[in-house]
């Protein structure tokens, strides 16, 4: 990007502005036409791209990008003649983003066709036309001066319209999630992600995203409600298939656990490298207390009680680990929790009746955990709702949605309270916080044990959903992935951590090559994040400030935003 900006100087843009517009328009129109032509010789690659006159879904997305480019360029010409407009839309920056996105998108499609069918010869003329169109649009839009920054964020629309915008955004998210999950081959998945990325980039550049986030701030309750409606509706898009729902429930468990860890890491600022052990503790307690034939104790209370016991056991472990280590400052906690994670795994391996008391059946773990039955609702059965079948995993999905919602509620409410302020103060300056009367040790211990409790609760559901619990499910690597999800998404945020957890869990499930090299890929990803965006994809403002102590501009900007909204944006 920087190179392109250096290459295309403002003078060049002034001179070739007109030509740039024409090139861009031609490219956009080519992108609109190309999807109606065949792109590949065989229908085996991606979706069926061999038909003349009828675009496949993936081709249709190319068409959509073409429409965006052309429309933005035309609208910019038509609307900026009337200069008196209060609100500026970033038509040109949007068109630039769309063209860049289209180029990447088309290139990925052609590469996928070539890779899946064996060589570039399998690409038919329509594909090449699309590529030429994307290239022209890219070069053309680069030659147009960007103009002033968009001010769309300041715009207000009538309330029903704004609420409708939130609903449309949520519906689009649901559609995107369903579409991405329903495409099993890596090519379709990757190209679709590229399309989503392009659309998001267009929205950011044109200022639409700024407007949407301002609207979301105004209608927080609507946003939260619709987010849950969308999450609730997801199983209905799967038509009773368990394949994707199984992945979705795993994502949910991962996200719920990550949110719990987010309280410890993101809010209290404690580095916990053994968090998975608390999840494991909850899972083992639930397994042992379940009616499995392999359960080792004779006490089988109802699940509601089991949940509380699991949480309490995990929290007690947290207290035992935390109370000596949280008194000392520095990195001791990281080392102790790292060791605790290993001790937990080895202990569970040894509680097999020969090396220790018979509790967990050692490395075999406890299999055949029966499905949950809550209030007469059997989680093993298929149910039909509105004629749509919902399988076993959908049942667990709904339960986990509830658990996740609960953890998010705890997270945000604690964050915006006296306790949350105490945590921020501790992160900022522990000594000063103590000298101002903040109970530093108590708050740290509460975060640590509270986080452990939530992990224990999540673990108790996981035990039933996984059917069996074994020690090797709870290794250090899992703790590392949880931390990676938080760092990637944005420490101390809800949305960021949800996005991070989804990405980190979904990618290896959907892309085999990612699964094979996932340590390498995530390692590289984290190094890049630390270098270029240490605050995460969707940063918490306070964290962003903490990571950029020297950046006066950022501090000024955020200060203004706080003055406007009256709060420090963090929890969303």
């Amino acid at each position: 990007m920087i190179n392109i900006r250096r290459l295309v100087t403002p003078e060049l843009q002034q001179r070739y502005n007109r030509q740039g517009r024409i090139l861009g328009l031609v490219g956009g129109v080519l992108l609109i036409i190309a999807p109606f032509l065949p792109w590949a010789y065989s229908s085996d690659a991606l979706d069926n791209m061999t038909v003349l006159g009828y675009p496949s879904p993936l081709q249709f997305f190319g068409l959509a990008l073409g429409v965006i480019i052309s429309a933005f360029l035309v609208l910019q010409q038509a609307l900026t003649q009337r200069q008196k407009k209060r609100v500026r839309v970033g038509w040109v920056p949007g068109a630039k983003a769309a063209a860049t996105g289209a180029l990447i998108y088309i290139a990925l499609i052609l590469l996928s066709i070539a890779a899946e069918l064996g060589g570039l010869v399998n690409i038919v003329y329509g594909g090449w036309i699309a590529l030429v169109g994307a290239l022209l649009a890219f070069i053309g839009t680069r030659l147009i001066p960007a103009g002033r920054t968009p001010t769309l964020a300041a715009a207000t629309a009538p309330a029903p319209l704004e609420i409708l915008a939130i609903a449309v955004m949520m519906a689009a998210a649901l559609f995107a999630a369903a579409f991405a999950l329903n495409h099993d081959d890596a090519g379709s998945f990757v190209t679709f992600i590229a399309f989503v990325g392009a659309v998001v980039a267009v929205m950011i550049r044109s200022g639409v995203m700024g407007w949407l986030s301002a609207v979301s701030q105004r209608y927080r309750k609507v946003l939260i409600f619709s987010a849950f409606v969308v999450a609730f509706m997801f199983p209905f898009t799967q038509g009773g298939s368990d394949a994707n729902m199984s992945i979705a429930t795993q994502v949910m468990i991962f996200a719920a656990t990550a949110m719990g860890l987010n309280i410890v890491v993101g809010l209290a600022g404690l580095l916990d490298l053994g968090y998975i052990a608390f999840l494991g503790a909850g899972a083992f307690v639930a397994a042992i207390l379940s009616r499995s034939a392999f359960s080792t104790v004779g006490f089988h209370p109802p699940f509601i009680v089991v949940v509380l016991i699991s949480g309490t056991v995990a929290a007690t472990l947290g207290l035992i680990i935390g109370s000596p280590t949280l008194r000392v400052s520095g990195d001791y906690l990281a080392i102790v929790t790292l060791a605790f994670g290993e001790i937990f795994r080895i202990s569970m391996n040894n509680l097999d009746g020969t090396d220790g008391p018979l509790l967990t059946r050692g490395s075999n773990g406890i299999p055949a955990i029966p499905d949950l039955v809550l209030f007469g609702f059997n989680f093993a059965q298929r149910h039909e709702l509105l004629g749509i079948p919902l399988g076993r995993f959908s049942n667990y999905y709904f339960l986990l949605l509830l658990v996740l919602g609960l953890i998010i509620l705890v997270f945000t409410r604690l964050n915006n309270s006296r306790i949350g302020r105490g945590w921020v103060a501790i992160r900022e300056d522990e000594k000063a916080a103590e000298a101002m009367g903040v109970n530093v040790f108590g708050l740290k211990l509460f975060a640590f044990a509270g986080g452990a409790f939530l992990a224990g609760v999540a673990g108790s559901v996981k035990a039933h959903q996984d059917i069996s619990v074994t020690p090797d499910q709870y290794v250090f690597l899992e703790s590392a992935f949880l931390l990676a999800a938080i760092v990637l998404g944005g420490m101390g945020t809800v949305l960021g951590v949800l996005v991070g957890a989804t990405l980190l869990k979904l990618m290896p499930e959907k892309l085999r090559f990612v699964n094979e090299y996932r340590l390498l890929i995530f390692g590289l990803l984290l190094v890049l994040m630390m270098r270029f965006r240490p605050e995460g994809l969707i940063p918490n403002q306070r964290r962003q400030l903490e990571f950029h102590e020297e950046d006066e501009e950022l501090a000024e900007r955020i200060s203004e935003e706080i003055a406007e909204t009256g709060t420090v944006k963090g929890a969303t």
């Binding site: 309270s417 302020r421 900022e428 000063a432 916080a433 000298a435 009367g437 102590e549």
Partner: protein, 284 residues
Amino acid sequence: MTTVQGTGTAALSVDGPILVAEHVTMRFGGLTAVDSVSFRVMPGEIVGLIGPNGAGKTTFFNCLTGLYLPTSGRVVFNGQVLPPKPRKVVQAGMARTFQNIRLFSNMTALENVMVGRYCRTSAGPFTSIIRGPKFRREERETRERAQQLLDFVGLGHTTDSLARNLPYGDQRRLEIARALATDPKLVLLDEPTAGMNPQETRQAEELIFKIRDQGLAVVVIEHDMRFIFNLCDRVLCLVQGKALIEGTPAEVQSDPRVIEAYIGTGPDDAAALESELEEGQPDA
């Protein structure tokens, strides 16, 4: 002129002194930073603490506020022996500011002061999650009190500014507001005018009088002599960890031992400092 060595008996009634330090000694290894200093502060009194660099003023402060546990001696605050924990000291009613400003720089001015209210509020995890009426009332009161205090120190307009964006003088005042938020009976200010221009210094002086007028006792460490002698009812001079002299500003100002401690024994130097002290110039 009263030297400190004689005054050791502590009256433990609430009507008596608010703070009594008895033979407080702080040793770090072989170094005696504070050597058997006794000291008392009455309610509504402003007491200055002066002394050359390295005299042990801040160390003595840290002993009073529970940051250090004195090697020997004891500190009685409001009739109770102080627990050696900063948090408990604040709870008992003694708040402090820091020589090098230690604000929560990425919090807003209002949030900084609200943190100061922590020890006077009690919302626990469950109330915070459930958000009952008690929680909302307490949160509203915290916010209102913090805003009042910002207005009190003259920072009412900076409510939503990040602490790190405030000018230096405002940061010092914000630290005072944060200390006042803990509802103290005694405030200890560690060099509240360091780095301030004369105008800001005068504002700080007015602020400290205003705090005293609320019935609070104030202990101030300062190097600015004019400031100290204008402000304080009583001044204690520490030299090499020992209490050299305690008395009214006039007494301390004219004591040859103070001049000697600051400048040395040469007669010319002493004359120079004497004239400087009389003019009220800040020392080096």
